[in-house]
């Protein structure tokens, strides 16, 4: 099925088998393996990507359902030309606040954090962040530093003039 997708700013027109999940297209066909598969049952959020600015679980959407949409994966967040060595403020906050251990959940956490800014603005309290992380599981950190990182990243997005939707 012919499908037009903008992925991290680049337009694609792809012939996609209808049963292809977005996460399979990203990882297996496009080599964007930063989007992880943790559960494949819509529970863990490791596969979160932004679609027109809204966070979705890429394991629970068909690529063909997103015809005409713009997708941002974790690979699309950093800037700085071909090296992309300037981290997005939310990514930088995860590094600064030690918001990860093994890092498996991190792409989905970063995406979830960026979308919280879209919904609630730059001043996030801990309770809001905890409530909005219901769809993201981390087996390592105990969430304390993830919440700190998202709180700091949300503030930093304001100071850097970062648009809410990456």
């Amino acid at each position: 099925m012919q499908t037009r997708l903008t992925i991290n700013g680049t337009g694609h027109s792809l012939d996609i088998a209808p049963a292809t999940l977005l996460v399979e297209l990203l990882r297996d066909d496009l080599g964007l393996t930063g989007t992880h598969i943790g559960c494949d049952t819509s529970q863990c959020g490791a596969c979160n990507v932004l679609v027109d600015g809204a966070a979705l679980k890429a394991c629970t959407v068909l690529a063909v359902q997103l015809d005409g949409k713009a997708i941002t994966t974790v690979e699309g967040l950093a800037t700085g030309g071909s090296d992309a060595d300037t981290l997005h403020p939310m990514q930088a906050a995860f590094r600064e606040h030690h918001g990860l251990q093994c890092g498996f959940c991190t792409p989905g956490m970063v995406i979830a954090g960026i979308e919280m800014v879209r919904r609630h603005g730059h001043d996030l309290d801990r309770a809001t962040i905890a409530h909005d992380l219901e769809g993201n599981l981390c087996r390592c950190t105990g969430y304390v530093n993830i919440i700190k990182a998202i709180q700091a990243g949300a503030k930093a997005m304001q100071h850097s003039g970062e648009p809410a939707n990456a």
């Binding site: 959020g45 979705l56 359902q65 979830a112 769809g135």
Partner: protein, 264 residues
């Protein structure tokens, strides 16, 4: 996943004909029930008919004492829409308790209503708010529409286009969530109208139901103390790995009190 054909119709008529031509066909809205079912081979459709390109199936409008919400409207929209918040804040609050933010960005009213999961939240709201389910073929009152676990008045290929909720004086939803799935172990939606109170209960039984004793007691006296005196018989309630019938019966009274206190 096993492959299937896929159609992107641009009108209700095209959707109906794609469904008719599609072997074992299924409509897809948000896909947050259907895709997990296909992955686990509970469903093996030959054709998916995507409703997202059909115009006029999403959005919120108010017409007199009815609030109409399009079938393709996401839970996130219902949770944050200004018209919903001013007309039926209890409904916005309910939508905000569905799943998690990513699920709410994708899942739709029509998908829940067509699926009729016995632990889904919306069915309790439709019962309490005396809703009307409008389809491409006609309309169904909520009381007759929900027919027990995963069963509804919809015919094969019938498309839910929108749902009308009667605007109450006050309403609220209280839910005891399964901490893993976030579906309702028991959810109680209370709606107070000028003439009567309606109470819808989800999660507790094999399908959503109205709670007659609670409605009578609260119509006479809309208060937490009146709610506390209501009893629900565990006889027809569910016992499963999450909770027993007697626990669910007790929980229903607790949820009823919470909902009444929020709606007072």
């Amino acid at each position: 996943m096993r492959d299937f054909a896929y159609a992107r119709p641009a009108s209700l008529a095209e959707a109906a004909s794609a469904f008719g031509d599609g072997g074992e066909a299924a409509f897809i809205a948000g896909g947050h029930t259907l895709l997990p079912a296909i992955k686990s081979r509970l469903r093996m459709p030959d054709t998916l008919v995507d409703l997202s390109g059909v115009p006029g199936l999403s959005g919120v409008t108010r017409d007199g004492d009815m609030l109409w919400i399009g079938a393709m409207t996401t839970h996130a929209t219902v949770a944050t829409n200004a018209l919903v918040a001013s007309a039926i804040p209890g409904l916005a609050g309910m939508a905000n308790l569905i799943g998690d933010p990513q699920v709410r960005n994708r899942g739709t009213l029509g998908g829940v209503v067509a699926n009729n999961d016995p632990a889904a939240d919306y069915p309790a709201a439709l019962m309490a708010l005396d809703a009307v389910v409008e389809t491409d073929r006609g309309s169904h009152r909520a009381d007759a529409y929900f027919q027990g676990m995963f069963s509804t008045a919809l015919d094969d290929g019938e498309i839910v286009s929108r749902v009308g909720f009667r605007v109450p004086l006050a309403s609220a939803y209280a839910k005891f969530r399964n901490p893993a799935s976030r579906y309702a172990v028991v959810g109680v939606f209370v709606a107070r109208f000028a003439d009567a109170v309606r109470v819808g209960v989800t999660g507790a039984g094999p399908g959503v139901f109205r709670w007659a004793e609670a409605e009578a007691a609260l119509t006479a006296d809309f208060s937490v103390s009146a709610a506390a005196k209501v009893v629900l018989s565990p006889d027809d309630l569910n016992t499963d790995i999450h909770a027993g019938a007697e626990y669910r019966a007790a929980l229903a009274v607790v949820m009823l009190k919470q909902a009444v206190s929020q709606a007072s």
